[in-house]
């Protein structure tokens, strides 16, 4: 990203002070900006021409109609303002992802005093735009916008521009919203060239098993939806109720994924490789854990565990305050 121009930087700083990051942004007269749009300036140009025409021809009817159009311009300011005023926005959720992904951001627009609002544009600086309308019968609406995931870390939601040119397109009414909410950007996964064999689990690791299909472990009441293959037909034939056979999978030996496996690499390279290993381990289904300098996870399996570890990688050595 190119360094912003000085005035742009100044403007951003000013905005930061004026409209700080908030959880829920309410649009009021303090943060709604109003200015004629390009169409509005064209319209004003027409008005000036009409005024000249009226003056040169000393024509009161033309004066009257140009006054009417001028009043129309003013009136549409109020309608445009009312279209945004009283709206509340907050980020409901942000997806996590890898660099280069598009992170889905769910923004909720609500209005405590519902009325019809239309032609509201929500846009992110990099150009993703949604047009929404709210009706007096719905208190809220959820809009999905997409963010570019760039670097590892917390991807805070960009400043959202909410704008409307309702009702006539003459007046642009807008606000910049700095909404709290972020998605995690995990390190870019990089395959490990030579399989660095991790230490096999230490003595404290108990062998574990999870429900699976390998070894028979017992019988249980049949539940609707279970595979017919699992029904214990023998027992059924003997007059017992329908039972289903239960199996378990033995868990492979747990594995520790360690920062120290990749000597001589820089931080990001290590993280990228660990990330790849986490994904691989999660797919393989054995219990695994992660050791980073100063942090150590539990051993575990499953998607939730994987996501926890990925989050650890994502924010490793990145300050909370970012």
């Amino acid at each position: 990203m190119a360094t912003p121009k000085p005035w742009r930087r100044w403007f951003n700083n000013w905005l930061e002070r004026r409209l700080p990051r908030v959880k829920t942004a309410s649009l009021t007269r303090k943060n709604i900006f109003t200015f004629p749009s390009r169409t509005g300036w064209m319209f004003a140009g027409v008005l000036i021409l009409l005024w000249l025409l009226a003056t040169n021809y000393q024509n009161n009817l033309v004066f009257g109609f140009s006054a009417l159009l001028g009043a129309l311009l003013i009136v549409s300011i109020f309608h445009g303002y009312a279209n945004l005023s009283g709206l509340q926005l907050r980020v409901l959720s942000v997806d996590h992802g890898f660099p280069g992904d598009q992170l889905r951001v769910e923004v909720e627009l609500s209005h405590p005093r519902p009325r019809r609002r239309e032609d509201i544009h929500l846009l992110f600086p990099d150009g993703d735009t949604r047009i929404v309308s709210l009706s007096s019968e719905r208190a809220s609406i959820t809009v999905a916008l997409y963010l570019d995931a760039r670097r590892r870390g917390r991807r805070h939601v960009d400043r959202i521009t909410i704008e409307t040119s309702y009702p006539l397109g003459l007046i642009r009414v807008w606000s910049y919203l700095n909404l709290a909410g972020y998605g995690l950007v995990y390190p870019r996964p990089v395959a490990v060239e030579a399989v660095a064999s991790g230490e096999t689990g230490d003595s404290s690791t108990r062998s574990a098993e999870v429900a699976g299909s390998e070894d028979f472990s017992g019988l249980r009441d049949y539940r609707n939806g279970e595979s017919l293959n699992r029904i214990a037909w023998k027992q059924f034939a003997r007059g017992q109720t329908l039972l289903s056979k239960q199996f378990v999978d033995p868990i492979a030996d747990p594995q520790w994924l360690d920062w120290q496996q990749f000597p001589g690499m820089d931080r990001e390279a290590r993280l990228s490789r660990l990330c790849h290993q986490v994904l691989k381990a999660a797919r393989a289904g054995y219990a695994f854990g992660l050791r980073l300098p100063g942090q150590c996870s539990d051993l575990g399996v499953g998607d939730a565990h994987r996501d926890r570890l990925l989050a650890m990688l994502a924010v490793f050595e990145i300050g909370d305050a970012a």
Partner: protein, 848 residues
């Protein structure tokens, strides 16, 4: 092209509508070729709109451009003029309409449209024009709204209403702006409209005024300050025509050009001081319609009262700049004044005696001969007038004249219109050596019967003569008056109405003067138009005086304060509207109907939850309002069928929803005071089902009363030991149905002569009884029973008991509207259905 840069279909629609209105209103000012271009563009664009044609090819656009160029070249001698400018604007408007691809293009068309629509006001400032412009503005703004709002781009009328609403809201603010808008003098001189206007021109050929006689177009209106002079004195002098080349009379430089005009604010000139004004004076104000020159109309010897007007040496009024539209000026006239009494200087005398070298020899000879015979100018004029009077006739269809027009007229045709008489008179005078000039203007006019102002129309155009006499100055002679004095004394219309066929404005002229109410309407419209014009024109003066009076001063801070206060006042309603209005969604008509139904349920305390489907809501609300279960189900089913299956009867559903009023009362309606009565007539299911269909019955509750057991159950009742009877309690609206009528139905519904039984139902619980709530009910019941006994309708006497109501116990829920709930049950099938059918037959007029 991202979607929101496209032109929405409704945007295009309103744009086309606005284009049509603007161009139609300008039709009379545009050359034919340009009209063709406009038509082609419009039709092609409609073709695109309807999806029939694609964008026009390059050849067509080129052709249209060439057509525009040729059209302008052929129709206008120069490009610097109002008409050519407007034409150019319309050309651009049309061509851009064809070139419209994106929203950006549409915006250009829209702004051109605003401009074109308003330029119409440069040609005419009448009410009709103002209305047309307003309609155009609403349409153009509608297209702007349809380009930007989501709902406006979807539903066509939404954009139109939004536009009309916004403009209506802008109106109060417009008044404020209009009041304080700075009025400057013209910044640079602009070409005025000079498209052909019906009216006088400064070059008179014989026959010109005759042509004006067939036009009912307005020339000017006059408001007299005092009593208006009699009609035969209303000679509205416009120009004096002194130049004559044998064919046409012209207004030559003498009399009005620079230096020879004394403008209103200038000190009196020497020649002006020599005017003997006399005592009488008439003060009036004239509103002149658009015309083709700088002359103004006035009565004899005017004194200008408005800046920018001046008195010319020929004692006519002129304006400094020809008005592009209507203009208003004040005049004081001195009818007894005498001008240039002493002497005409040599040059002037020669000028007023000038005749071309040859032509009209007969007239010259006769003039010379008569001059010799009479010896004095007075006698000569008298003789000529007598000659006219005896030998000539006045007609609107004079025969054509040859090269020596005056000779032909005087010696052969002897039929003519005012100009024939006036021109021949002046020629004759000059040939006799008497200075004379032709005067053109209007004569008479029509007084508005109520408002008193005078309306002068083109058919009042007139020509007469002024003769300079030694010691008396200029004296007016009207030879037409000698021939046809009625022309001067009465209205032209009365005189000529059979002879004249008016070509223009069929309504505004007196064609319908015979029809009273139509004539009144015409006069009222005329008055409205005049007042409008006065207001629009006189505005500049009002602005300052009004503000000065209102504010008590006219300085900047007062003005600023006024603008601030007035604008806030004007904007307050807008603010309220925009912030607090809870405008609803624009719905599919079926959805709107269903929402109306939901709304009614909501007023009855059963609100639809967000996301609740119609069926689920119907189930829930039916539980909440068991009495309305049937209707709720019917409406919901009807809606679902229509909306999702595309089958069913919309009209029926509409009616059903309209009649569905679960809420008993609403606050704003006139409160309905209902009465309650309690009746026992056998099984309550029958009465219940029947009364639910009766008009005016608002509520039916089945229950028990008349016994001793507290809170009885149906099982207890069935034993017959409780003393209670099965009853229905009716809530009815006495405005719709009287208690007596309720009872009449009651007695038709059961057999009141069988004691303690109805059909197969036997027991005291099935007794016939009326549990009266008050003495009035008791009295009415007694009367009805007496009537029935007397009528002999039943073989035996009525046994219906009259008991005062004690405590009423509503029956279990499943008894309420039992027939509707269990229409398939045996009892309903066997007992209620036939009874209900018979009841419907007999009481059709009283059913809902």
């Amino acid at each position: 092209v991202t979607p929101f840069w496209q032109i929405s279909r409704n945007g295009a629609f309103w744009l086309l509508a606005a284009f049509l209105v603007s161009c139609l209103s300008l039709v009379q000012y545009l050359p034919t070729l340009i009209l063709a271009v406009v038509a082609v563009s419009l039709l092609w664009r409609i073709g695109i709109y309807r999806g029939r044609w694609g964008a026009p090819g390059r050849w067509l656009k080129l052709l249209l451009m060439i057509a525009c160029g040729i059209g302008i070249q052929l129709s206008f001698s120069r490009i610097y003029g109002l008409e050519p400018m407007v034409t150019l604007l319309v050309c651009g408007y049309s061509l851009k309409l064809l070139e419209m691809h994106q929203r950006r293009d549409a915006l250009v068309v829209i702004f051109l449209g605003y401009f074109v629509a308003i330029t119409l006001a440069l040609f005419d400032q009448g009410i009709a024009t103002a209305l047309i412009i307003l309609v155009s503005l609403i349409l153009i703004t509608a297209s702007l709204a349809a380009l930007h709002g989501t709902s406006g781009s979807r539903v066509r009328t939404v954009a139109l209403w939004r536009s009309a609403r916004l403009l209506a809201q802008a109106f109060p603010l417009m008044l404020v702006f209009f009041l304080v808008m700075p009025r400057l003098p013209p910044l640079w001189s602009v070409p005025a409209a000079n498209s052909s206007v019906t009216g006088m021109s400064d070059n008179l050929r014989i026959g010109d005024i005759t042509r004006l006689g067939t036009s009912g177009a307005l020339a000017f209106r006059v408001d007299f300050d005092g009593q208006p002079p009699p009609r035969q004195q209303l000679y509205w002098r416009g120009m004096t025509l002194s130049g004559f080349d044998g064919q046409s009379w012209t207004r030559s430089g003498w009399g009005y050009r620079g230096g020879l005009v004394n403008w209103q604010q200038e000190p009196e000139a020497e020649w002006q001081r020599q005017i003997e004004k006399g005592d009488a004076q008439i003060s009036y104000r004239i509103m002149l319609e658009r015309q083709g020159g700088n002359w103004l109309y006035s009565l004899w010897l005017p004194e200008p009262g408005t800046p920018g007007t001046g008195l010319a040496r020929d004692m006519t009024l002129v304006s400094a700049a020809p008005a592009g539209g209507r203009s208003e000026y004040r005049v004081i006239s001195y009818p007894e004044a005498r001008a240039e009494v002493n002497a005409l200087d040599h040059v002037r005398r020669r000028f007023e005696l000038h005749l071309p070298g040859n032509g009209n020899p007969q007239t010259r000879r006769l003039a010379a001969q008569w001059a010799g015979e009479t010896g004095s100018a007075d006698k000569l004029i008298q003789r000529l007038m007598a000659f006219y009077n005896q030998e000539f006739s006045y007609t609107l269809q004079p025969p054509a004249l040859g090269e020596n027009a005056v000779d032909d007229f005087l010696f052969s045709s002897r039929q003519g219109f005012c100009e024939h008489f006036a021109a021949s008179f002046v020629f004759f005078m000059r040939a006799a050596g008497i200075p004379a000039r032709l005067v053109v203007g209007y004569q008479g006019g029509e007084f508005h019967p109520d408002k008193g102002y005078l309306t002068v129309r083109q058919y009042d155009a007139h020509a007469w003569a002024e003769v300079w006499l030694e010691g008396r100055g200029w004296v007016q002679y009207d030879p037409t008056a000698a021939v046809a004095p009625e022309r001067i004394l009465s209205s032209f219309l009365d005189l000529m109405s059979e002879e004249v066929v008016f070509e223009d404005s069929p309504f505004s002229i007196g064609r319908y003067r015979g029809i009273d109410w139509l004539n009144q309407l015409r006069l009222n419209l005329d008055d409205l138009e005049y007042r409008w014009a006065r207001w629009i024109l006189g505005y500049d003066n009002i602005q300052e005086s009004f503000l000065a009076r209102l504010l008590g001063g006219f300085d900047s801070w007062r003005l600023a304060l006024f603008v601030l206060l007035a604008s806030s006042l004007a904007l307050l309603p807008v603010l309220g509207w925009s912030l607090f209005s809870r405008r609803g969604e624009t719905h599919h008509p079926l959805d709107a109907l269903y929402l109306q139904f939901c709304q009614r349920l909501a007023t009855a305390g059963c609100e639809r939850q967000p996301g609740e489907g119609p069926q689920a809501f119907a189930r829930r609300s039916a539980e909440h309002l068991p009495g309305h279960r049937q209707r709720i189900d019917r409406i919901t089913q009807g809606y679902v069928n229509l909306r999702y299956r595309g089958q069913g009867d919309l009209a029926k559903l509409k009616q059903e929803v309209r009649q569905f009023r679960p809420a008993i009362q609403s606050l704003w309606r006139k409160p309905v005071t209902t009465q309650i009565c309690t009746l026992a007539g056998g099984c309550f299911w029958c009465l219940d089902s029947a009364y639910r269909n009766v008009k005016g019955v608002v509520g039916v509750t089945s229950g028990y009363t008349g016994g001793q057991t507290e809170n009885p159950t149906y099982r207890q009742i069935c034993t017959g030991m409780t003393g209670h009877a099965e009853v229905v309690q009716l809530e009815f609206n006495p405005d719709k149905i009287s208690f007596r009528e309720v009872l009449e139905i009651f007695f038709a519904l059961h057999d009141p002569t069988s004691l303690n039984r109805q059909g197969a139902d036997v027991g005291t619980q099935y007794r016939s009884a009326i549990f009266y709530h008050d003495q009035h009910q008791k009295q009415v019941a007694e009367e009805v029973i007496a009537d029935i006994n007397q009528s002999g309708l039943w073989d035996s006497a009525v046994v219906t008991a009259l008991e005062p109501l004690t405590v009423f116990y509503p029956a279990e829920d499943y008894h309420q509207d039992y027939y509707a709930k269990e229409p398939e049950s045996r009892y309903c099938q066997l007992v209620i259905s036939p009874k209900l059918a018979k009841f419907r037959e007999n009481f059709r007029s009283k059913l809902k």
